[in-house]
Symmetry: C2
Subunit: 339 residues, 2 copies
């Protein structure tokens, strides 16, 4: 046998599958106690990765990874979770999910209760109102891998997986300019949050690159729902020089805008092109399908899980801080395609 | 002081709020250790409910309740979870969610891993392919409250919260008959599952009650997605005596049917009325809003949480089996309203 022994070497020696060895080492409840003990003993005899073995031998291993999101019922978050599960389930991990409903106070409770549940890692997208990272210090102190995705704050020793919001917004705005639009409104949710700040910057840069003057009155803040989109569209179209395109950082806002335009004598996309952000599933069910920026959530979830696995495999003595930035993907549909 | 002491009596004695007493007794991490000890000591001195006190004193109390669903990204399930959280969060409980993706094998793993995480209760809607309840025996053995919702199997000592699927289906069919429809197709997902069986029976009874002959060719099985709905609509409209109404137990199936009808020269609702089931959010976003049976998920979640709390409060010595059946609510929109 050359090099370090692997689970395949253990499997061969015991005449069982590598998957069974892996599960036994991960303390998977589907493996009998007798098999677990045999695998652990053999692994020890063969000097198989002592660090990992120590982990598996440790009492109280839960197999659970905590995933924390603002809401489970947003397509973006549920798809990220699917990606995480697709990576971690085959490795014997179970994913347990909690939602903060955007409450910082609830987020603190959740982190504490996940530690009570002895999770082996936490993958989290921060609540909108989370202003500090104090509640994560205990996680790091316990050497539990912590990974931020999408919404994050800078924190030493913590990895993150995000998308390039600037790029997504830049691409959408360029697409609208190429459709002949030169008065493009930008609907934002909260420009103090970094993701929305970057989207505003991408929009502005696209205008600059095509010598289109920036008009402050065309940047409007809204809550992410359909009624707000209607209200905002009405105000925008009442301007002296109304927009001929609306780029909304919220799909629900974009939907409301389309509904208002259509019921008030405007044609979409002929009079006003509309592009949303997030690629919610309903965007393709509409009679007039809606263009949107896809945030590659499945890929993001898989990447977050891979970063977690790297940290686990590197053991407790190494501090890793990895920043992964994925490229979003503009999906062009009827709402912004002039014939 | 008359009668048994309450948390208000403890709060008064210590000059703190009742909420703080409740949190301290529930081992909430937001309460300092010093306060917890003071509250526990005072409660003991006052002879406050010894059973509950014993629970709070017990080591390893996690505050976590496990909720298990097939998919988190179905509106029905995410709304049930919201209902559960609304009841349990104020009581100091944290909800951790897992999804089975309809796999019975994964469901077994999840239950074992939730036990690893020392959850204090499990509220679950069974995976489609779960055929036995063996994996729940360990839960009952540990005296952990177990509650089924929506999809369940009969099991001694286990409570359940469901909706009256028969009634929901009966009401939808009667509504279609009242719109003048006499050739009503019924799209079902899996008539071997009890919820779909009951829906088929409700449909059949409504026909009987209005002397409309049952035609087997009008009952069609489909997977719950849009493409299947299109395929099924095409087949149905090719019948010698095609339907003038489609009642689908899947909103996605109903959506596909509407899309196919509209692109093939049929008017909805004039030529064919359509009603779905589940009241998915997209049903109201469509240009032609879709009628659907609402499964009152928020109410179902709250009820499941209340049943859990009753079991916790009654302590370990009482076995409770409570069956709650809620009434669904038919939401009538454009797709089945003839002018």
């Amino acid at each position: 046998m050359k090099g370090k022994p692997t689970i395949y070497d253990i499997a061969k020696k015991l005449n069982i599958t590598a998957a069974t060895v892996s599960r036994a080492l991960n303390n998977n409840p589907r493996i009998s106690q007798a098999t677990k003990e045999l695998v652990l003993k053999t692994a020890k005899d063969m000097n198989y990765e002592p660090n990992k073995l120590a982990l598996a031998l440790k009492k109280g291993k839960s197999n659970n990874i905590g995933v924390v999101v603002p809401y489970i019922n947003r397509n973006f978050f549920s798809s990220v979770i699917r990606g995480i599960e697709e990576e971690l389930f085959p490795k014997g991990y179970n994913v347990i999910i909690s939602q903060t409903h955007e409450s910082a106070e609830r987020e603190v409770d959740i982190i504490n209760n996940l530690l009570n549940a002895q999770v082996e890692g936490i993958i989290i997208s921060l609540a909108k109102f989370t202003k500090n990272t104090k509640h994560f210090e205990q996680v790091l102190k316990k050497n539990i891998p912590l990974i931020f995705f999408d919404r994050y704050q800078e924190m030493g020793g913590v990895s993150s997986v995000t998308i390039d919001d600037y790029q997504g917004s830049y691409d959408a705005t360029i697409h609208l300019i190429e459709q002949g639009c030169d008065r493009i409104a930008h609907l934002t949710v909260d420009p103090t949050l970094s993701i929305y700040k970057h989207r505003l910057e991408g929009y502005q840069q696209a205008l600059i690159d095509h010598s289109i003057p920036f008009r402050e009155e065309l940047v409007v803040k809204l809550k992410s729902d359909m009624e707000e989109g209607k209200r905002v569209a009405e105000n925008l179209m009442a301007l002296e020089n109304p927009p001929n395109a609306i780029f909304s950082t919220s799909d629900y806002g974009a939907l409301g805008a389309i509904k208002w335009l259509q019921t008030n004598g405007y044609k979409v996309p002929e009079d006003v092109c509309v592009v949303g952000f997030s690629n919610e599933p309903f965007t393709q069910f509409l009679d007039l399908s809606m263009s949107s920026v896809d945030q590659v959530p499945l890929e993001m979830g898989k990447m977050a899980a891979q970063v977690f696995l790297e940290q686990v495999n590197d053991g407790n003595n190494v501090k890793i801080e990895k920043k992964v930035v994925l490229s979003p993907s503009l999906i062009i549909r009827q709402s912004s395609t002039k014939k």
